[in-house]
């Protein structure tokens, strides 16, 4: 097969680039998840409804900014290399995580929160026993979206010298070498699908049966 020729002839190189790609993704995405969930939580605490709505508006709007624009902007201010690339990926993944965490928490039924407060839960108990557990579907979907976008955008980050599978794709494009382009694109797609599937499993494992049932209804 002509299409797979480059792929099979360069497996060690492709594996190395895949690892590099995964590394770019994992670091930037993990930090984005932690930061995004954190921002989502603090911006939706009682009495901070205004901040929460602002965060939603800003993150909602910035989701429409193309990934290349973010990478280009980061390049202007930070130059080239893996670090600026990871920063761009971090910013880009932060948006869906923050947006979904904030909107998930803001959509927790006021009745549940009132009941929890009336029963004598502290603010932290309400957050950890009621708000976060019932927001898992929203937060998890933000985290999964962030992962898939991140892996895709990481391929583009190769133009600012980040390395990863994007490097193979861009060389292939320049040489008009379809087999080379394919050898770069295929692992990107597989990586995104595998990570998403693993996260879906994780989501299912931590989500309460009660939530699954109430989503079905």
């Amino acid at each position: 097969m002509e299409l797979f020729s480059y792929f099979f002839e360069n497996i060690p190189y492709i594996l190395e680039k895949t690892w590099q790609h995964f590394y770019l993704f994992l670091i930037s995405w993990s930090i984005a998840v932690v930061t995004g969930v954190f921002i989502g939580i603090i911006s939706t605490r009682p009495g901070k409804e205004k901040i929460g709505r602002t965060v939603l508006a800003v993150t909602g709007a910035t989701q429409a900014v193309p990934s290349t624009a973010v990478i280009a902007l980061v390049f202007i201010f930070m130059g080239i290399g893996a670090l600026p690339a990871m920063f761009a990926l971090f910013i880009y993944s932060l948006v869906p995580v923050t947006f979904n965490t904030a909107s998930g928490l803001m959509n927790v039924s006021p009745d549940m929160k009132e009941a929890a407060m009336g029963m004598g839960m502290t603010k932290n108990q309400i957050l950890f026993k009621v708000e976060l557990p019932t927001s898992i579907p929203a937060i998890a979907s933000g985290i999964r979206t962030a992962a898939v976008i991140n892996i895709g955008t990481a391929a583009i980050a190769a133009i600012i010298g980040a390395g990863g599978l994007g490097e193979i794709i861009f060389i292939g494009l320049r040489l008009m070498d379809v087999s080379r382009i394919f050898a770069g694109a295929l692992p990107v797609a597989v990586l995104a699908l595998v990570v998403d599937a693993l996260l879906a499993l994780l989501e299912k494992a931590i989500m309460s049966d009660g939530l699954k049932l109430s989503k079905e209804n």
Partner: protein
């Protein structure tokens, strides 16, 4: 536990709006007191100031003469049961975990919690085996309300605050829940403060009623007195034009039926002829017919009997009739009688034995007494 409100006030917008304006009253221990009034009258605000979901701006709230300021807000809430209109069951928790929330906050041992959850489910008429591990999404509306009530009782609080707990449910199920709730309160005898906007619910459940309007108390009295002697036009309009009928809901058949009636025992009187003789002797146009052990079979009238041959079996001339039980209220009695077109209705016990009769005239007289106090 007794709760006393002392000059309780809640101002908003720097005093421009007073949701609750300087109210003082005492909620009696072990009684169910209903707070009622139009929306915006301050009833829910008053309720929520008691568990400090809303902070008051003036006055005091005393639990057995101890100010709520002397108690920690979180601990106070754990000692007060709380049930709300939309229930707010935690959808990610099983029925068991929902009920166990406050006991767990209070760090009860797990075995004690389990026993308590089972006890409460039985109290609200839900089979623990069947429902304990279900999730809210698997329950009907009525079942959710029951769990909400059970949850508010979980840590055996002395005081329970209920904010329209049966408000979001269809009328038929609401009546059932109210009946079940009256039975529960008979058993537990808690100090309950119950907010509603439904006057029928207030009359049915309340030992006492507080009528509020514009942040003030309009009338606070025993339910019967509120119905009999409304303080002013506002209370009258709240009670509605059919308050005489509502008054009937508070009274039960057992206190208003009479034992003065004519009955024929079909075990002894077998033929139409003897029955007619008996009726003529008693100068009555009809009589109830009972069978073995005094079980009601129906009634017979002289008119009907005269058309028959006097050797006919009496049983064949008996007309079946509606009956009512002593624990029904007079409203139910009147409905039964109007629907069946009866001027008097036999009262029977659960074994269908005839106890007496209730007359339509009696009901009209009682309604008349409510009407009179209305003037």
């Amino acid at each position: 536990m007794q709760i006393r409100l002392k000059n309780l006030t809640k101002k908003y917008d720097n005093g421009a709006f007073k949701a609750v304006d300087n109210i003082s009253l005492t909620f009696d221990e072990s009684k169910l007191t209903v707070l009622i009034g139009p929306s915006g009258c301050g009833k829910t605000t008053t309720l929520k100031m008691i568990n400090r979901l809303i902070e008051r701006t003036g006055g005091d709230i005393l639990f057995d003469e101890k100010s709520i300021d002397e108690m920690d807000r979180i601990n106070l809430r754990r000692k007060i049961g709380y049930a709300i209109q939309n229930i707010g069951l935690f959808i990610h928790m099983s029925v068991f975990d929902n009920i166990a929330v406050v006991p767990r906050l209070l760090k009860w041992p797990e075995q004690k919690i389990k026993d308590r959850v089972e006890e409460l489910l039985e109290l609200v008429n839900l089979d623990p085996e069947l429902h304990m591990y279900k999730y809210p999404a698997q329950l009907s509306g009525g079942q959710k309300q029951r769990i909400g009530v059970a949850r508010s009782l979980a840590a055996d609080p002395d005081v329970i605050l209920m904010d329209e707990p049966f408000g979001a449910i269809d009328p038929i199920n609401r009546e059932k829940l109210q009946d079940a709730f009256i039975e529960i309160q008979e058993k537990i005898k808690k100090t309950i403060i119950f907010v509603t906007h439904d006057i029928r619910e207030a009359i049915k459940l309340g030992d006492k009623i507080v009528i509020m309007n514009n942040g003030h108390i309009v009338q606070y009295d025993d339910t019967i007195n509120v119905v009999n002697q409304p303080e002013n036009e506002f209370v009258e309009s709240l009670l509605g034009s059919d308050r005489a009928l509502k008054g009937l809901e508070m009274l039960s058949v057992k206190d208003n039926y009479i034992k003065d009636f004519v009955s024929i025992n079909a075990e002894e009187v077998k033929t139409v002829g003897t029955a007619l003789e008996y009726l003529q002797k008693k100068e009555k146009s009809y009589a109830y017919v009972v069978g073995k052990k005094g079980i009601l079979l129906g009634y017979c009238t002289t008119k009907r009997l005269q058309k028959k041959d006097k050797h006919d079996d009496l049983i064949e001339s008996v007309i079946k009739t509606e009956s009512i039980q002593p624990y029904s209220n007079l409203m139910e009695a009147i409905i039964t009688m109007v629907e069946a077109g009866l001027t008097s209705c036999p009262v029977v016990n659960s074994k269908d034995q005839l106890l007496g009769i209730i007359r339509f005239k009696t009901l009209v007289d009682i309604m008349g007494s409510f009407e009179k106090s209305e003037e």
